[in-house]
């Protein structure tokens, strides 16, 4: 009888264990038990989230590919494949390697779909930089991303970084990757065709990341030998070779299916490929290239060694494929065959170590989780503006907010990433979204990631909607048509009803916003249990989004271009300060409700800006987000060293006018002759348009509130983050 301690340590409940015994009709072997434990874990099987994930729209204005591992959209004869994934817990333990292997994993998901990776982004969250360990994490994570991404030759073109106490003890590292291929070249993640060989390709297998399964060592095997689970080490050089070898392999036309050995390694890839192909698979672990001696079957099946994949090829073609991997000095060996009995059978050292029904393995149970609103939220949502004293010196306030690491320049980060390799990046980091050209076409691709988790904490439904709306807005400001979404849902322990309530409401927010913008959610990832002893992280449903530019020449950037240009603010400024950076940085308060959001209004503002860019009316467009109008206006000035003289928005209190984070607002600049045309478009679409002022000079002036040399602003903004590292 398998001891309760063993299966509990593997993360299985009593009921789950009983179900496994029932499926097997006998006591499972240790290998089988380990396989069930990973396949039914949240990481692979999504038992606690599948029910809600089903609600995400799978269709939008572009034909969507919602597939096996990653997803994408079709644009003409191209498939654009993209996905985001978390590597939070490994990064918290070992930031460099954790982040590096996070990048490696997501990129493998892209090229195993047949698409060559053309860009990466990352969304990062840390605790405050006043704590040394958080500085260590920031430096390590950035180091890991640059180490891996730069070596691969996939440009890291964008992302975001926020700092908030709730991430102390549990940082977030969400990596997104985008790839492109001809629609007809897409690969499948399945194994089919009885007798077709299954090949193991890439690096050898060691005891990396075996995690909870190490309890099996004490369960059945002798003590003594070192079997401690270890950190996964990234090997970008091997991955680069793997990309090239895979592209060559797929080009032969001999591949039936291909899948990354990501989380849960061989277990996941074998079971899921067989299940997706409606077939079975028999593999022989004796043929798996091993890096360490004396590995047990369960260790080989669970290993999370990096840079490995499983490929199902057409019978008789294995030699040809082997040659390609040999050329790149990579392993490429046949370890098994497709069978017709819908089972995964695993042999090792002359014994059958596992023999499980693929469907039972691949279809984790689904749980309905209780969800209740946190008790104190209503109280936190109350914000009486009369209790917030208005500052006297707005110069000082602006400088302080610009220096807040969440707002400050991220150049220290993105200048460590090669964001230009592949010679496609036409809008570099520092604007609202990165823009890449699609070689061989006149089209472009824009990409962004967004999520303000403070809003989600205050109001998960609206906060998640804002994340989607802001992502769309960033794309539109770049001249792109928002096309489709990937998400990375980072939450606390789903077994706690208040955490699950956040999860549920955020998903609903994403669903409704995506429907409003008519975009599909083509891929995503769930990361639960993001908690430290102090509690859960802020709910963080990161939205990754891509947009399409029909004509690459009609792209737009966020910074001012010409002295003398007029500056307009589109959208309405309300008297709201809830959840703002101003409230946090200046008044040390997280309170109130998230800013209001009217999706129809949002769409109207975006429509005006999109059309103005298409018509060539405007020279720059920048989304107003964290830090409000004053910060957004300052950001417009830095790149070309162009100051601005603006007036104050009337009708709301001064601090709200300057720093309130009302949604659906975009700052644009244009030649004096275009003002009338844009105003007309605004009237047609029912969008507020406010004449802010004029570009020029070396000063930053907002009416009587702020007047500073641009250089002073740049100093605060430029060093706000880098002074900590």
């Amino acid at each position: 009888m398998v001891k309760k301690e063993v299966y509990s340590a593997l993360g299985l409940t009593d009921a789950e264990y009983q179900k496994i015994e029932q499926i097997m009709g006998r006591e499972p072997s240790s290998t089988e038990l380990a396989m069930f434990s990973v396949e039914w874990s949240e990481h692979c099987g999504y038992p606690r989230s599948r029910n809600l994930l089903k609600l995400l729209p799978k269709e939008g204005k572009y034909p969507a590919l919602v597939g096996e591992d990653s997803g994408g959209i079709i644009v003409d004869d191209l498939a654009i494949i993209f996905k985001m994934e978390s590597h939070n817990h490994p990064s918290q333990v070992e930031p460099k390697q954790g982040a590096a292997t996070g990048v490696g994993g997501i990129i493998r998901d892209i090229f195993t779909a047949g698409a060559r990776p053309i860009a990466s982004l990352n969304s990062l969250r840390f605790g405050l930089l006043t704590e040394p360990y958080n500085r260590y994490l920031l430096k390590g994570v950035v180091e890991g991303i640059q180490f891996y991404g730069n070596c691969l030759g996939v440009p890291t073109v964008g992302g975001e970084i926020y700092f908030d106490e709730s991430y102390s003890g549990n940082c977030l590292v969400n990596a997104m990757s985008i790839g492109v291929c001809k629609k007809l070249e897409l690969a499948r993640a399945q194994a089919s065709g009885v007798g077709n060989p299954i090949m193991y390709v890439g690096s050898s297998t060691g005891r990396d990341g075996i995690g909870g399964c190490s309890v099996l060592a004490s369960h059945e095997f002798a003590e003594g030998e070192e079997k401690r689970p270890t950190v996964q080490i990234g090997d970008p050089f091997t991955e680069k070779c793997l990309i090239e070898a895979t592209m060559e392999t797929l080009a032969t036309g001999h591949v039936v299916g291909i899948k990354d050995m990501g989380a849960a390694g061989l277990t996941c890839s074998s079971a899921e490929m067989a299940y997706a192909g409606g077939s079975g698979m028999e593999i022989d672990l004796d043929n798996v290239p091993l890096r360490e001696q004396g590995m047990e079957a369960y260790e080989i099946m669970m290993s999370e060694s990096q840079e490995r994949m499983l490929v199902c090829v057409k019978k008789g073609k294995e030699k040809e494929i082997e040659k390609i991997f040999e050329k790149w000095d990579l392993h490429g060996v046949v370890i098994g065959y497709v069978t017709d009995n819908k089972k995964v059978k695993v042999n090792y050292q002359g014994k059958v170590v596992a023999d499980i029904d693929t469907e039972a393995l691949a279809k984790a149970p689904i749980y309905d989780m209780p969800a209740t609103e946190p008790e104190n939220l209503k109280e936190i949502n109350i914000l009486d503006l009369n209790s917030i004293p208005q500052p006297k010196d707005y110069n000082e306030v602006l400088l302080k907010i610009l220096a807040s690491p969440t707002i400050a320049s991220k150049a220290w980060v993105y200048e460590q990433y090669d964001h230009m390799v592949q010679v496609n990046t036409v809008v570099l980091p520092g604007s609202d979204a990165a823009v890449l050209r699609l070689k061989g076409t006149s089209k472009g691709l824009a990409a962004t990631t967004d999520c303000n988790s403070r809003y989600c904490f205050l109001n998960p439904y609206r906060g998640a909607q804002i994340a989607v709306a802001e992502a769309c807005r960033n794309l539109v400001c770049s001249g792109a048509d928002p096309a489709a979404v990937t998400d990375c849902l980072n939450f606390g322990n789903p077994e706690k009803p208040d955490r699950y309530w956040y999860f549920k409401n955020c998903i609903q927010g994403i669903v409704d916003a995506c429907k409003a913008f008519n975009v599909a959610v083509v891929s995503g990832n769930v990361s639960f249990y993001n908690e430290s002893p102090k509690g859960a992280i802020n709910p963080t449903p990161t939205i990754g989004m891509i947009g399409i530019l029909d004509d690459l020449d009609k792209r737009c950037v966020s910074h001012f271009k010409n002295a003398g240009d007029r500056v307009l603010l589109l959208g309405e400024t309300k008297e709201e300060l809830g959840g703002s950076e101003y409230l946090k940085v200046i008044h040390d308060k997280v309170a109130g409700d998230a800013p209001e959001l009217d999706l129809e209004k949002e769409k109207a503002v975006q429509k005006v800006v999109y059309e103005s860019i298409q018509m060539g009316y405007i020279n720059s467009a920048h989304d107003c987000s964290e830090g409000g109008l004053a910060v957004a206006l300052a950001e417009c000035c830095f790149v070309n060293n162009l100051g601005v003289a603006a007036c104050l928005i009337p009708g709301v209190r001064e601090d709200a006018a300057l720093f309130g984070e009302s949604q659906s607002r975009i700052i644009i600049s244009c030649g004096p002759d275009e003002v009338g045309r844009i105003e007309e478009l605004c009237v047609e679409n029912g969008v507020e348009c406010f004449n802010l002022g004029k570009v020029g000079g070396d000063k930053f002036i907002i009416n009587n509130s702020v007047s500073l040399p641009l250089e002073t602003l740049r100093e605060s903004w430029g060093k706000g983050l880098s002074k900590y590292v």
Partner: protein
């Protein structure tokens, strides 16, 4: 004229160089796999940037021993044009085709950004189209571009006018602001900045394009002279 782009495992600017030669300056170009041991009638070899062998021991150290390097060295010694960019420069240093070595950037970080370069020598096949003193806006992207050479070597570089490009604001600590050098015979160039990343206006500037055009012009002149 025919260009060849050498591909090592881990090269990652090979496709970019190919793209520029093929699509921008529209000259014949082929990839050359590093295990190749013979070169057939190329006029100019490009050793591209990237991370050959992951740069795992030292940048360029392992690639330097790839089978292709023997014919590359022979080609260079016979006067053939060789341009090494970034990792390609590092490989040429390791191979001894150019003097000196690379250290880690002074700030110990990878740096990717546009910088300004000053053209110091125009009497090379790679820079003849520029004006002496011209300032180029051009991207760098490297971890180890901190060029080092001992005093005697530096004096030699200066004496022979081998320094082709200098940084206007030294980003990495390179000795004497050196960004690119040629060998004594002036047919082998190594440079850390990436001209292939700024050869088209869409990419934010085309100051690098003249490197390729200089090569083509030089080559044409040479073949008519022959």
């Amino acid at each position: 004229m025919k260009f060849g782009v050498v591909v090592f495992p881990g090269s990652n600017c090979d496709q970019d160089c190919f793209h520029v030669v093929d699509q921008v300056i529209k000259q014949p170009v082929e990839f050359i796999w590093h295990k190749t041991t013979k070169l057939d009638n190329f006029d100019c070899l490009i050793i591209p940037g990237g991370f050959s062998y992951g740069d795992y021991l030292r940048c360029g150290a392992i690639a330097r021993f790839s089978p292709i390097m023997e014919p590359v060295i022979r080609f260079a010694n016979n006067g053939g044009l060789v341009i090494g960019i970034c990792n390609g420069f590092q490989i040429l240093l390791e191979a001894g085709l150019l003097p000196g070595a690379m250290l880690r950037n002074k700030n110990l970080h990878f740096i990717c950004k546009f910088v300004n370069l000053r053209v110091e020598a125009t009497d090379t096949p790679f820079s003849s189209g520029y004006n002496k003193g011209q300032i180029l806006h051009i991207p760098i992207a490297h971890n180890e571009g901190n060029y080092y050479i001992d005093d005697k070597g530096l004096a030699g570089l200066k004496k022979n006018n081998q320094i082709v490009f200098r940084y206007v604001n030294n980003p990495n600590g390179a000795i004497d602001d050196i960004a690119g050098i040629v060998n004594k015979n002036r047919n082998v160039l190594g440079m850390m900045p990436h001209p292939e990343r700024c050869s088209e206006d869409a990419l934010g500037g085309s100051d690098g394009r003249m490197v390729w055009e200089s090569i083509v012009k030089w080559s044409k002149k040479k073949s008519t002279a022959r």
